[in-house]
Symmetry: C2
C-alpha cells in the first residue's frame, strides 16, 4: 500500500550490498564494518526508511504489540489504567492494540481476545472484564499471557491485579456509621459484576455487624453521573419520609454517581452532611472539587495499571510463572460530604 515504502532490498541495491547486510546494519547487530554501516544508515535515512514491523514480527515471532480490552473509554478507571499501560508499553518499545466491549458481553470479550491473538500480540490485559477462568486455558493453548485488572468475573484464578472492594466498602460504611448516620442507602451499579457484589456485601455485612437494619438499595444500569442522578430521584420519590425521619447517608457505587446524587439532593434543598451524607468510591480527580468535597475510597487506578503491565511483561519473559493475584491497597478519604 505504501508508495515509497522503501524496503531493505532497495537500500541494499543502492548501497551495493546484499540485503541481510542492510538488515544487520540497521539493527546494529555487530559484525559489520563501521564504514558500510554508516553508508547504509545514511541511505536509509535519506530515503526515509521505516522497518516493516509486520514482516519483522512474522519471522522473529515477536510482534512487539500488546492488546488491551476495556469496557468504556470514558470511565476514569479505564482511562487511568489504559494510560499507564500505554506509557509502559511504549517505554519498552511496544505498540498497543485497544478494543472496547461496551456491551459487557462475555462472548464479545473473548472474540476481542482472540482477534488480538490472531494479531500475534505478545500479551493481553483485560480491564474490568467478565470472563475469568477461560483465560488460563487460552494462555496455555496459545502461549500468549493474559492479565486481568479489576476482573468482574466471579472466579478469577489466573494472573490478575485487583483491589479489595469488600474491605473498601466496609471502611466506607463504618465511617458513615461512626459519623452518626443511621440509615445508610446504597446506590449500586448493576453492570459492575464482582465489584458490585463485593461492595453490596460489604454494605450488608457492616450494617448487620453494627446491628443496623438493612436499608434501601437501588441499582442503576451503568454508573455514570446521570445514572446516579436518576437513582437518587427514584430514591427521593419513593423513600422521602424515611430519609427525613432518620439521619441518612447515601453511599454510591462510584464518584460519578455520587456527583449525580449531590446535584439532585442540592436541587431538592437538602443540606449535604447535615441533612444527609453522601459518599462515593474511586477518588477521581474531581472528587476533591465536588460541592461539598466528596468523601470517598481511594482506588489506586494508575498503580493497578502499572502492576498489570509489570505482571504481563514478567509473564512474557517467564511464561511458566505460577498464577498470581496481586491485590492493591486503597484508603479512605474523608472530606466534607459526610
Amino acid at each position: 500500500m505504501s508508495k515509497s515504502n522503501i524496503s531493505i532490498k532497495k537500500i541494499a541495491e543502492l548501497a551495493g550490498v546484499s540485503y541481510p547486510t542492510v538488515s544487520r546494519a540497521l539493527r546494529n547487530e555487530g559484525r559489520i564494518s563501521e564504514e558500510t554501516r554508516k553508508r547504509i544508515v545514511t541511505i536509509a535515512r535519506e530515503y526515509g526508511y521505516t522497518p516493516n514491523l509486520t514482516a519483522r514480527g512474522l519471522v522473529s515471532k515477536r510482534s512487539g504489540a500488546l492488546g488491551l480490552v476495556v469496557t468504556r473509554f470514558s470511565d476514569p478507571f479505564h482511562s487511568d489504567v489504559a494510560q499507564k499501560v500505554e506509557i509502559e508499553a511504549n517505554r519498552r518499545g511496544y505498540s498497543l492494540f485497544i478494543a472496547s466491549n461496551e456491551t459487557q458481553d462475555t462472548d464479545r470479550e473473548l472474540e476481542i481476545v482472540r482477534s488480538f491473538q490472531g494479531r500475534n500480540v505478545e500479551g493481553i490485559i483485560v480491564s474490568s472484564g467478565r470472563e475469568g477462568p477461560r483465560y488460563m486455558q487460552l494462555f496455555r493453548e496459545t502461549n500468549i499471557p493474559i492479565v486481568t485488572v479489576n476482573s468482574h468475573a466471579a472466579d478469577n484464578s489466573g494472573h490478575s491485579v485487583c483491589h479489595d472492594d469488600y474491605g473498601g466498602g466496609c471502611a466506607i460504611v463504618q465511617h458513615l456509621i461512626k459519623r452518626g448516620y443511621q440509615n445508610i442507602v446504597y446506590l449500586g451499579n448493576a453492570s459492575a459484576g464482582k465489584a458490585q457484589t463485593d461492595r453490596q456485601q460489604a454494605w450488608r455485612d457492616t450494617l448487620k455487624q453494627h446491628l443496623l437494619a438493612p436499608s434501601i438499595q437501588i441499582d442503576s444500569s451503568e454508573g455514570r453521573v446521570q445514572d446516579g442522578a436518576a437513582a437518587t430521584e427514584q430514591l427521593l420519590s419513593q423513600h422521602d419520609q424515611k430519609l427525613r425521619r432518620q439521619r441518612s447517608a447515601i453511599w454510591c457505587f462510584n464518584d460519578a454517581m455520587a456527583f449525580g446524587a449531590l446535584a439532585v439532593l442540592h436541587r431538592h434543598g437538602f443540606a449535604i452532611s447535615t441533612d444527609i451524607g453522601v459518599a462515593g468510591f474511586d477518588d477521581i480527580d474531581a472528587a476533591a472539587f465536588a460541592i461539598p468535597a466528596l468523601t470517598t475510597w481511594h482506588q489506586p487506578r494508575q498503580e493497578m495499571g502499572a502492576a498489570a503491565v509489570q505482571m504481563l511483561f514478567n509473564l512474557i519473559e517467564n511464561p511458566d510463572a505460577p498464577p498470581a493475584n496481586t491485590s492493591m491497597p486503597g484508603w479512605l478519604v474523608v472530606r466534607h460530604s459526610t
Copy 2:
C-alpha cells in the same frame, strides 16, 4: 510464539489437501467444492484455527488496522472521539492501534505516526495533535491517509475535522454580556494550541465589539479540574476587589476547569449566577449536574469522531480525494450558572 497456533499448512495436511485450498476454503473464496470446504472448515474449527493477520497483512498489503493518536486518555474529548473511532473501526472489521502523546510534543507525535506507518496501518487519526502541514506530505509519501480531529496546529490544510471554537467562544461571551455581566474573565489552557488562541481571540473580539474593556486572563497549564481550581484561587487572590466591584463572570476553557472554578468560588462564599457567573466549554455529561448546572457550549465530540473515521475510510477507498476540512457545528447550552 503461540503454541497451538495451528497453521493453514497443518490443516491442509489433516484434510489431505494442499494449503492454498485451505486458504480458499477459509476465506469463502468461491471455486471450491462445497464438500471439501465443509470438511476443512470443520477441522479448522476443531483445532481452533485463527488466521495469522500478520502474515495475511504482509502479502495482501491490507493490515486491517488503523492508528489513533491522542494526547491524554482521561480527557473527555479524547475518550469520546476514541470510543467512536473504535466502534466504527470494529464494525468494519478493523483493529485499532492507540498511542498517547502526553508530552504534547510535535516530534513525539510524528514518531508515533511513523511507528504506525511501520505497522502498515491503513489509516491514521490524530486527535488534538500539534502537527499539521507535514501530514499531507507524509500521506503523499506513504500513501497512508491521515485525518486530524480538532487539530491544534496553526496551519492545518490537510484532511481534517474541526469545530468552530471562535464562533462558540463568541456565542458564550455574548450570552454573558446579555446576562448583564460587565467584567468577563477568561481562564485559559496554555497547552491547547489553536483551541486556546481561537477562544481567547473570540473573547477579546466580542468584548471589544460590545465596547467592554478587556478583562483578566489567567492561563492554566493543562485544563483539568485542579487547574481550573488553581487558576480561580489565583484570580481571587489577585483581583478580589475588581470581581466584587463589577458584576463579573468567569468563562473557562472547558467544563473540567469550570468545575474547579465552581468549587473554589463556593468555598469562598460566592453565590453563583447572582454574585458571579461561570461558564464552561464542551458540555460533558457531568455539566448538567454541576452545582449549579453549568452553562456551556456543546461540542459534538462523538460526531466529530464519527466524521473523522468516515473521512478516513473514504480516503482509504479513494486516496486521491482532495483535502477537505469538515467543521462540525456546536451550540450554546444555557443552564443555571450564569
